[in-house]
Symmetry: none
């Protein structure tokens, strides 16, 4: 079963808006065993919409459009869809009622004709009621293909996908069972990893697909399997993973729940262990703290952090001794370890992470090469550090250092479990 997603809107093509709708829809479709053949972003233009519909129909069984349903003049999707199916627009009473209700309850202004016209839909469509906005979703079947048109506003689109489109697709098609399992692999590059697991990969049955998803120091390995017998699929994937694990023993960090990042994984463990964390950041500039606190519930284990960007702050605020800095330089293992130890004490936590380095583009307070980063982990009983060269691209250096810091902490937590 193949789908194509068509997102409509000039704002997508001038780089003003990132198309997050198609990601959401693709994920939802994949979960029910529908593969997305293509995602196409097009202009709010009649000829272009007609062309895209025609091309999509040649490849896919399910065509989902988002956007182009607003009341303003540049939105012509609905008329074009009616034309494509040789249909006319008619006023739908239930949609009009929904619009009137929304205006009464939230807008509290007279209903303009452009908004009333949002109740016009192709006569042959089935309306998917959008309770969150004035543009209705539409479902049209023709020649065993399904066409769905949804509003582009993300939360309206999401509600319609979850509550209307997915259940109806399951009813309409005999969807296969699909299974994704993603393994988090840290500390080995994509190509080394590929070389190491090559013979395992080559022996995978053809209904299991493997994807490498590398990102600055970590690789997500995703196994995808599809079939009509759930038990066989699950069993086979598990067996393959069992064969894989010995090959990546030291680098395997766990399975990824859908969207769980490593800091979420760390957070869950710390909550379970009733342990706490603090950070002292130099070159990472607050990004470790920011990534931790971007997760709701982080206050349960994250006590706080220091961003000691200037050398003087490291001595005055964090209490790193001037002697250590003078002897070893501010970018050194000794300073990183002292920062971690002091942060642990200051915030009274079980773990502390510290970073000091030079993210570039120029050398800073020390002679360290651009890209040099020391990362230290302190525990109640120990402190240790590692040094890395993270390249010469400022953003990359910071992101790699953040990933590496989480990786080191995660290893330490696993060790102490």
């Amino acid at each position: 079963m193949l789908a194509e997603i068509i997102t409509i809107g000039d704002e997508l093509l001038i780089g003003q808006v990132t198309d997050t709708n198609s990601v959401f829809i693709a994920k939802a479709l994949n979960k029910i065993g529908v593969s997305v053949y293509q995602i196409t972003s097009i202009q709010d233009d009649k000829k272009h919409i007609l062309k895209a519909l025609k091309e999509a129909q040649e490849n896919a069984d399910i065509i989902i459009l988002t956007g182009g349903l607003g009341p303003t003049k540049d939105d012509i999707t609905k008329k074009t869809i009616a034309e494509y199916f040789g249909d006319t627009l008619v006023r739908d009473a239930s949609v009009l009622k929904n619009i009137e209700h929304l205006w009464e309850q939230y807008i509290k202004q007279p209903l303009a004709q452009v908004n009333k016209d949002q109740a016009l839909v192709p006569s042959k469509c089935m309306v998917l009621m959008n309770k969150l906005g004035s543009a209705p979703g539409m479902w049209i079947e023709k020649n065993n293909k399904v066409f769905v048109s949804l509003p582009g506003v993300p939360f309206e689109m999401k509600a319609l996908i979850e509550n209307e489109v997915i259940p109806k697709l399951k009813d309409t098609f005999n969807c296969p069972f699909i299974l994704h399992k993603t393994l988090l692999v840290y500390g080995v590059g994509e190509s080394s990893l590929a070389a190491r697991i090559e013979s395992w990969e080559d022996a995978l049955p053809n209904y299991i697909k493997l994807a490498y998803l590398p990102n600055l120091g970590k690789v997500r390995l995703r196994l995808s399997a599809k079939g009509f017998d759930k038990d066989i699929i699950e069993n086979e994937v598990d067996q393959q993973i069992e064969k894989l694990l010995p090959l990546i023993k030291d680098e395997f960090f766990g399975f990824e729940d859908d969207d769980d990042s490593i800091e979420v994984v760390i957070g869950k463990q710390l909550v379970k262990l009733k342990q706490t964390l603090a950070v002292a950041e130099s070159c990472t500039g607050g990004k470790i703290a920011q990534q931790i606190t971007s997760n709701a519930g982080s206050s349960a284990y994250f006590k706080g952090g220091l961003v000691t960007y200037a050398t003087q702050s490291k001595t005055d605020v964090l209490g790193v001794s001037k002697g250590i800095i003078d002897t070893h330089s501010v970018v050194s293992a000794q300073v990183a370890e002292s920062m971690a130890k002091n942060a642990l004490q200051l915030f009274n936590t079980d773990y502390a992470i510290a970073t000091t380095g030079n993210a570039g583009p120029e050398k800073g307070d020390s002679d360290a090469e651009v890209g040099t980063v020391f990362i230290a982990i302190a525990t109640k009983t120990d402190v240790f550090s590692e040094v890395f060269n993270m390249g010469n691209h400022r953003v990359k250096v910071v992101n790699k250092a953040v990933n590496k810091a989480f990786e080191m902490l995660q290893k330490e937590i696993l060790k102490n479990r």
Copy 2:
């Protein structure tokens, strides 16, 4: 001049990765007067790539592909491109040298054959050297059309677009002169702003376009003019801006250098004034520090920050008196102001920003409603704060608070100039 962007990768079609590459490329192309006709995300599959190339060639003059150039087995773009142009792959000495250099300097492991093979390129292509990674960019011209293939790793792609592709497109095509001027407007919503400047907007000449780019409490107003006479264009845009400024006197924060964010504007001023900044963050969790330090050169004015996430850290590390917290609650003007004053002293700076609030989703150490945020600014002689309700969406609350904090600081700096 029309372009099509093709992004390649199964990860895009299963909803695992959001396609941010095409947004970046679309924006860069629009800046030089190239309109994007379509953005297409396709599978890492030979037949699909060939089909997409053929279709794109029918519509566009410039076809830009990203992704599918990694060393692993799921990456087959390069072979397919060679096939599409009836070409063969040859080893490029300069690319191989670059790969060897990267391995020597950063990877420090033997170079595997799969990585050596990344130096294979179609014989008729011009190599766009990727100094940040092992996959080279490729530029192929055929029948007055330009095909560009770039690695999918965002920062590698970005560097190639900025340093290679855009300058070469300007050389190859007779691009019109395009002028963008962006005004930063804070403290007024999009629709109020639109109503206020409506008659000015209606009187704009038709070759000047206005775009509203709203983002959580700020609106960027972008004027774009296109034409072949640079002087006329510049003159007209300046005249229009002169008419606009009196209408937005109190909310105008300055011009934005292309992508200059407010924290960059603040940084430039602080450098000029030889003044310094520190932060003390609670609910913003390090994001203010992170946004400041994401700019190269921030060490000239940013001394450091504290993330006092736990209430205890506010007293123990930042020295906020327990009495103030008990009397006024940890989410209060008094605590925010005390945090700012103490951070100013601790880091010995001219300015300090502090935040305390509840970003949700649940109430934390205080009774404050979800979304309540106090932001304080301290100077050598003064401290003041404001309270906001920033809604009930965690990520939004944090981002709005960060924007608001920068806005308050910027106002204060302008006042003291």
